[in-house]
């Protein structure tokens, strides 16, 4: 038995997209235990619920995260709409779903790039992010923003997309798909990439359920769980089925996300084909009534939970967001036990961490 040492990892580390600190207990290059600590970028956004009216709070909630910004805006609006018993027009729900799936495409492509960067394949990383720009351009064209869209509001959406632009979205995505196939082929079949991913950091199905893993992390371990099945948006009408893999290793997590990109493109195409004409918003006036509402949404990173509590005033009494990274940290710590020190960045990246979401 070798000597145990503690190696500090983060919060500043070349591979980490965001600050988290891990104390790695090492024994002969093997990680015996990992102790995570967060709290470097807590911003107190939930506290702002007392200072911003419920209609204005969307702008704050959207800024919880730059990648799943639209999802956060939608989740919040859905919670407040539920609290106030507002029926959103169908076209608005379609538009929200289209933007949300576009977010998933760009989030997963960003993640693929980061993963490539994590295992040291720089050109693959660059190509992933180059392709992702096309999705961002679509966002700029349809919403006016590249990262923060400010397009979701309580009662609907603020901007409509015309028929030509909707068709353009599909054609751009289909064109992108050709190049994307080359990239994903590298991720799934390249010898050196596979040697870094296959069999690393296996999380069993039992552990995934016990440690409450969420999103692609759980689905890669064979857990049939996706909040899009619960019927938010129009996913029921699109015939949605979650992508599930059973291996539970880094490769399976990568494959789940790659399959989800293609699935999202299909979902967008289906939504564009069936989108009805009509209003995009209903006017919302008055105070938020007393009561509570809970909603769950499938973010690109996993299940996200929103809780809104009204107090018969223009201000909500409490707004709570529980993000997928929060749920995936225990599962990540479990996978770190027994891995090589060189695989730690990879294992950390495969949960698709977003620490600013996690701390808000």
């Amino acid at each position: 038995m070798g000597k145990r040492t503690i190696v500090p990892f983060g919060p500043q580390h070349p591979v980490l997209p965001e600050p988290v600190h891990l104390d790695l207990v090492i024994e002969d290059e093997k990680v015996v235990e990992a102790i995570p600590s967060i709290g470097f970028i807590h911003r107190g956004l939930e506290k702002l619920v007392e200072k911003k009216e419920y209609t204005e709070l969307v702008y704050v909630i959207e800024r919880i995260c730059g990648i799943c910004s639209f999802g956060h805006g939608w989740g919040y609006c859905h919670a407040v709409e539920g609290l106030m018993n507002i029926e959103v027009p169908e076209r608005a729900e379609y538009l929200r779903t289209i933007w949300h799936e576009l977010s998933r495409v760009h989030s997963h492509m960003l993640w693929l790039g980061l993963l490539a960067d994590g295992f040291g394949f720089e050109s693959l990383f660059m190509h992933c992010w180059r392709l992702r720009e096309r999705v961002l351009d679509l966002f700029e064209k349809t919403t006016g923003g590249r990262v923060i869209f400010s397009v979701c509001k309580v009662g609907g959406v603020r901007k409509d997309i015309d028929k030509e632009t909707l068709d353009e979205i599909v054609s751009v995505l289909r064109e992108m798909e050709k190049e994307l196939k080359e990239l994903t082929d590298t991720f799934m079949n390249d010898f050196s990439v596979k040697s870094r991913l296959v069999g690393i950091g296996v999380l069993s199905k039992e552990d995934a359920i016990e440690l409450c893993a969420a999103g692609p992390m759980a689905r890669a371990s064979g857990v049939y769980q996706d909040m899009r099945l619960t019927g938010h948006g129009i996913y029921n009408k699109l015939g949605f089925e979650p992508c599930v893999e059973t291996a539970g290793d880094c490769y399976a997590r990568c494959v789940v996300r790659i399959r989800e990109i293609y699935q999202s493109i299909d979902l967008i195409e289906k939504a564009v084909k069936t989108i009805p004409e009509g209003d995009i918003e209903v006017p919302v006036k008055g105070k938020a009534p007393k009561g509570e509402f809970i909603t769950r949404l499938e973010q690109p990173r996993g299940e996200c939970f929103y809780y809104a509590k009204g107090a018969d005033s223009k201000f909500l009494e409490r707004m709570r967001v529980r993000t997928p990274t929060n749920m995936n940290v225990p599962a990540m710590v479990k996978t770190l036990q027994g891995c090589d020190l060189a695989d730690v960045p990879m294992l950390f990246l495969t949960i698709d961490p977003c620490i600013s979401c996690c701390e808000r």
Partner: protein
């Protein structure tokens, strides 16, 4: 399974234009909806102050008496809220970003506020009197 899966794409990109742009030396193409910065047609502005009230980041200051409309560029989040609520539609979201700066830019626009409607003279002393009586 094989190696050099990315070879084709890498070779292709060798003979293409770079994917990045030398911004801001080479200007980029803006989309019609791009939310770049808020511009005001100050001649049309009636200095009602609704934009100031609705601004989520308190970036706007409207001085009705002095006829100034001020925006703190670094505070503005380009949410388009003020543009939507403006009753005279004098606010516009232009699609070019503001230039980068190391200082907090404050832009002020001076216009002529509409003159307040003159009240009938007879009522003014009466009101004063009433107020006076209450305080006594």
């Amino acid at each position: 399974m094989g190696t050099l899966k990315l070879g084709k794409m890498t070779m292709r990109s060798l003979f293409k234009k770079p994917a990045t742009l030398m911004y801001p030396v080479i200007p980029r193409e803006w989309q019609e909806r791009t939310r770049g910065h808020i511009a005001i047609g100050v001649d049309k502005c009636i200095f009602c102050g609704i934009c100031q009230k609705k601004c989520p980041t308190n970036a706007l200051t409207v001085d009705r008496a002095g006829g100034t409309w001020t925006i703190e560029r670094m505070k503005c989040i380009q949410c388009n809220c003020c543009v939507e609520v403006c009753p005279t539609k004098c606010l516009k979201n232009e699609n070019m970003y503001t230039t980068p700066s190391s200082e907090k830019i404050v832009d002020s626009f001076v216009g002529t506020p509409p003159k307040p409607k003159a009240k009938p003279k007879a009522e003014e002393p009466k009101e004063k009197k009433e107020n006076g009586e209450k305080t006594e």
